[in-house]
Subunit: 247 residues, 2 copies
C-alpha cells in the first residue's frame, strides 16, 4: 500500500469570484481516484467570505465578551454572528459552536494571510456545499472521478496544538464503517468508525508549507474511498450536542 501526497505548486493569491477548479486544473495532473484537499482559507477567499472588523458594530454582549477574552469587540461580534453557542470564554480564549456545528476557537475566523489590516476571513457559509461545488467543477474540467475535502486547523480537547480536520467533503464518506469485517482472529471489528475525512485533512497538512502557500494538496492512492455520489458531507460526522459528553 502506498499513498502519495502532492502539494499543488504555484497557486496564486485567490480573490472573491476566482475559479478554484480552473486554477487547480492548470497546475496539476489529476487522475481518477484522487482526493483533493483544499485549505478552508482558499475556499473562503474564492467565495468572498471577507469581513471588515471596523464595519462591525458590536452588541453589548460582544463588548462584554471582548473584555473577558481580551479580543477586539468587532471580532467578537463577528464570532457571535457566526455561532450558535459560546462554550468557553476566558482570557485569550473564545470557543464556540459555529452555525455549522463545529466546535472551535473564534468560529474559525482568521486574520493571518488575509490582505488588509482590519479584514478577516469567515468560514464558508456551507463547507459541504463548497466541497460539492468544487467536486462538480473540478470533475468537469479534468474529466476525472475525484473527491474533495475542505480542511481547517482546529484545536482539540485534552491535547495542545492544532490538527487539520475536515469541515466539508464530497465524494467521500467522512466516516469509514468497517463493521461486518472480521479481524485476523475472526472477531467482528466493532465500534471503530474511522474518521477518514479528518485523517485526509491531517495528512494533507503535512505536505504543505503554510507560510509559502500550499493551499491545495492531492492525495493519491486511496481511490477506493471515492464514492459515486457526493455522500452525506462532514455535517453527518458531527456529534449530536445532546449526546456529546464533552461540552
Amino acid at each position: 500500500v502506498k499513498l502519495e501526497l502532492l502539494a499543488v505548486e504555484g497557486m496564486p493569491e485567490v480573490n472573491a469570484g476566482d475559479d478554484l477548479a480552473a486554477l487547480i486544473a492548470a497546475r496539476c495532473e489529476l487522475v481518477d481516484g484522487d482526493i483533493v484537499v483544499l485549505a478552508q482559507k482558499v475556499v473562503s477567499k474564492a467565495e468572498g467570505r471577507f469581513a471588515e472588523l471596523t464595519a462591525t458594530a458590536p452588541t453589548s454582549r460582544a463588548v462584554e465578551l471582548a473584555a473577558l477574552t481580551g479580543k477586539e469587540p468587532g471580532l467578537v461580534e463577528l464570532i457571535l454572528r457566526e455561532s450558535r453557542e459560546v462554550l468557553r470564554a476566558e482570557d485569550g480564549v473564545l470557543i464556540v459552536e459555529t452555525r455549522h456545528g463545529f466546535v472551535c476557537a473564534n468560529a474559525g475566523i482568521d486574520s493571518s494571510n488575509v490582505p488588509g489590516e482590519t479584514r478577516v476571513l469567515l468560514l464558508p457559509e456551507d463547507p459541504d456545499a463548497s466541497a460539492r461545488a468544487l467536486r462538480r467543477d473540478l470533475g468537469s474540467v479534468v474529466q476525472k472521478h475525484l473527491a474533495v475535502v475542505v480542511s481547517d486547523s482546529f484545536g482539540r480537547a485534552w491535547r495542545s496544538g492544532q490538527c487539520d480536520v475536515a469541515i466539508g467533503c464530497a465524494g467521500i464518506a467522512p466516516l469509514l464503517d468497517p463493521r461486518g469485517e472480521l479481524d485476523r482472529e475472526g472477531r467482528e471489528l466493532i465500534a471503530t468508525l474511522q474518521a477518514v475525512a479528518d485523517e485526509l485533512a491531517a495528512a494533507a497538512d503535512l505536505a504543505r508549507e503554510k507560510s509559502s502557500g500550499h493551499p491545495v494538496v492531492v492525495v493519491r492512492g486511496r481511490g477506493e474511498l471515492v464514492t459515486g455520489d457526493d455522500g452525506p458531507g462532514v455535517a453527518a460526522s458531527l456529534r449530536d450536542p445532546a449526546r456529546d459528553l464533552f461540552r
Copy 2:
C-alpha cells in the same frame, strides 16, 4: 512538496519479546529522514502487555462501573488499574484519563486482533520510552537518521469516529512551533502550534489496511522534521488537566 506513505508489507504476528526493529528492517528499505509510524498494538505485543480478563479480580468499584457501562467487570478492573481518573461512565461508554495522561475510552485496552478469547492488550507502559527504544534499535540496525511515532486510534470530543493520534514519539517534536515565521502579509504567525506527531499518526492510518495487518507505515519526504535528539515525546503535548477546558 511530495510526501510518500509506505505500508510495510508482510509483518508477521508479533509476540512478546520479538525484535520489532529487526522485523521492520528486514521488510523495507529505510532512508535518512524517514518517520516510522507503528501502531500501538504491535508495540504492546512486542512488550508483552497482555492481560487475562479471567485472572483479574474486580474490586467493588469495578463491579459497579461494569453494571453502569455494561462492560465486563474484569475488563473494567483492568481499565481502572491503567487509569488516573474516570471522566465519563454511562451505558457502553467508559472514558478515562490513563496513567500516561491520555483521555480515551477503556484506557486504550483492546481485544481485537489479540489471540485468545479472554486476552486483552494494554497500552505500552511508557509509549515515549517505547518510541525512543525503537528509534535507537532501528537506527542502529539500518544506520539511518530516523524518527519514530507510536500511534493509536482514539475517539474525539464533538466529532464521531476515531482518528489515529500519537501516543509516543522520538526524534520528532510532537508540536511544531512556527512562531517567529511571518505569513505572506508579513504578520507573525501566532498561536498555531501544529500537532505534527498526531498528523503523522492520522496520515499513516490512511496507508494501512487494518484487517490485513499493516502495523508499520513509513512516512517519507519530511526529513526536516527529524531531530538530532529524541525530543520531549508526546507527553509534552498533553494539556495540563488543571488548564484543560473540556474535562
